[in-house]
């Protein structure tokens, strides 16, 4: 039995309808999400995966109070999402690193600490600690554009963690990186997750990435966006390069892939499109 205090994020019957201004569709609205129920326990690593337009980013943004739901409830640490945002319970990482050119790496990480009005000494110490965590201590005085894409994204992670948030929300953070850098960043992120114990909600469209990182993978499908399957990842918590070669890993990758395919079929895709999708995933 799960203690209720262990639930960090609780979504109940959440839906999101976008109104189309001057929409082409007769209805004028798009159902981005419907009937979303999901509980995230403290310390979990949840991946949201699904085809484009399945609302996975919208779902993440709903949790982070960057957009509001049109139905159902979003509770975070027993509070509304807005209250949680105002209490600075979130750290956000986007696909783009969103670093500010007018600040050094160190000052970029200090930004949230400035916003919360910490003292100069406290800001500097905390930012240095966070940059050490992402192993960029040598680059504190660099300008953001002097760093590679992977390093920039690590700065963004350090900044997101600077306020010790209860939840780290990541929207395809490694989507723009090459495959090698991406796998390295995956290991790096797991190490950080292990060290900080933060709850992570991670949006991706990479099946291997989702399986490798997560404690649970939430499979979604489009039109309307909904959860079609939740795949618990029962791999050992300690993960390494070898994890990607385990038989169980491949089984789980297959399970997620099947979940994605089922979702597609269920959405009434034309048979030809279904064949094509199967051909791709085979």
């Amino acid at each position: 039995m799960i203690e209720s205090s262990d639930i960090v994020v609780e979504l109940t019957g959440v839906s999101k309808v976008f109104g189309l201004s001057g929409g082409r569709a007769a209805g004028g609205t798009v159902e981005a999400l419907t009937g979303i129920d999901l509980s995230v326990r403290r310390g979990e690593f949840i991946s949201l995966i699904g085809p484009s337009g399945c609302g996975k980013s919208t779902l993440l943004r709903l949790v982070g109070d960057l957009t509001s739901s049109t139905g159902g409830t979003v509770m975070v640490n027993g509070k509304t999402a807005e209250r949680a945002r105002l209490d600075r319970d979130y750290g956000m990482v986007f696909q783009a690193p969103v670093l500010f050119d007018w600040r050094t790496v160190q000052k970029n990480v200090e930004l949230p600490l400035e916003i919360t009005g910490r003292s100069k000494a406290e800001r500097e110490a905390k930012a240095r600690e966070m940059l050490a965590l992402v192993e960029l201590s040598e680059f504190t005085d660099h300008q953001p554009w002097q760093l590679s894409g992977g390093m920039q994204q690590r700065v963004a992670i350090a900044r997101a963690l600077a306020l010790d948030p209860a939840i780290l929300l990541m929207d395809e953070p490694f989507g723009a990186l090459d495959e090698m850098t991406r796998e390295r960043m995956n290991l790096e992120l797991l190490r950080i997750w292990d060290r900080t114990g933060t709850t992570v909600i991670f949006v991706t469209h990479s099946i291997p990435e989702a399986v490798f990182l997560s404690t649970r993978v939430v499979v979604m499908s489009a039109r309307p966006g909904r959860i079609t399957r939740v795949v618990p990842i029962d791999l050992p918590r300690e993960r390494s390069v070898e994890t990607r070669e385990m038989e169980r890993y491949f089984e789980l990758v297959t399970a997620v892939r099947e979940g994605l395919r089922d979702g597609e079929g269920g959405a009434g895709v034309a048979p030809s499109a279904r064949v094509r999708a199967e051909g791709l995933s085979a």
Binding site: R85, M92, A96, F100, P112, Q146
Partner: protein
Amino acid sequence: MTVAHAEPVDAARGWSLGAQVREWVPALAFFVGAILAWELLVRILGIKQFILPSPVAIANAVVTYFPELWQSATYTLVEILLGLAIGVVAGLLAGMVTAHFGAFRESVLPFAIAANSVPIIAFAPIFNNWFGIDKQLSKAMVAAVICFFPVMINTVRGLTSASPAALELMRSFAATDAQILRKVRFPAALPYIFTALRVATTLATIGAIIGEYFGAPKVSLGQYIVTYSSYLNFERSWAAIVFACAIGITLYIAVVVVERIVAPWTTDRTTRAG
């Protein structure tokens, strides 16, 4: 964990003096070459001085009439600086207000962009009538109005240039509107504003001098040019134009220097990217 810092991360910032000099050599060589070619062409083709005076003749005029040219240039410079001050401050304020109110932006910005392409210099005689033909203010106002629109438009564009992701990031930190303005919108706007300021210095110089063509005291660059052109004493007109160029270029460089100090990341970044 092993992180291969494979990509080159060069921290070489700030240029050596040598590199800076080398960068200027081609431009300087071109300038000297052009003057030489001008001088030679005038001599070889025997061009009459009232068509095109030679650089030497112009330089002579600059030296001979230096005191009155200097006096005229000072008079015009005051107009330019006054016009810049009025136009830039007004443009910045109007830009900030327009950027802040979304509805206002949609209705005002197209008008400002249209107004920016109106030949404002055509209003110079009217400004002379309003503010006094013998007053520096009338020319300063021409300069101010010409500067106003580019500064305003770029301020609006700059203040609204922050990426949606940057604004969402600030929202996720529960930053106040004032913090977002100070830490994101304003720094993001600086490159836009400096671009407008560079344009404004040139426009203000043109505005003031052309304004003087339509009437101003004798001790002004515009009137100096007009007067000696009518006497067919063109090398003296050219000498005044040299002063006008010097003012324009100096003001432009001053803005570039201030930008380097206030917003060094814009040039650093483009230097690297280029």
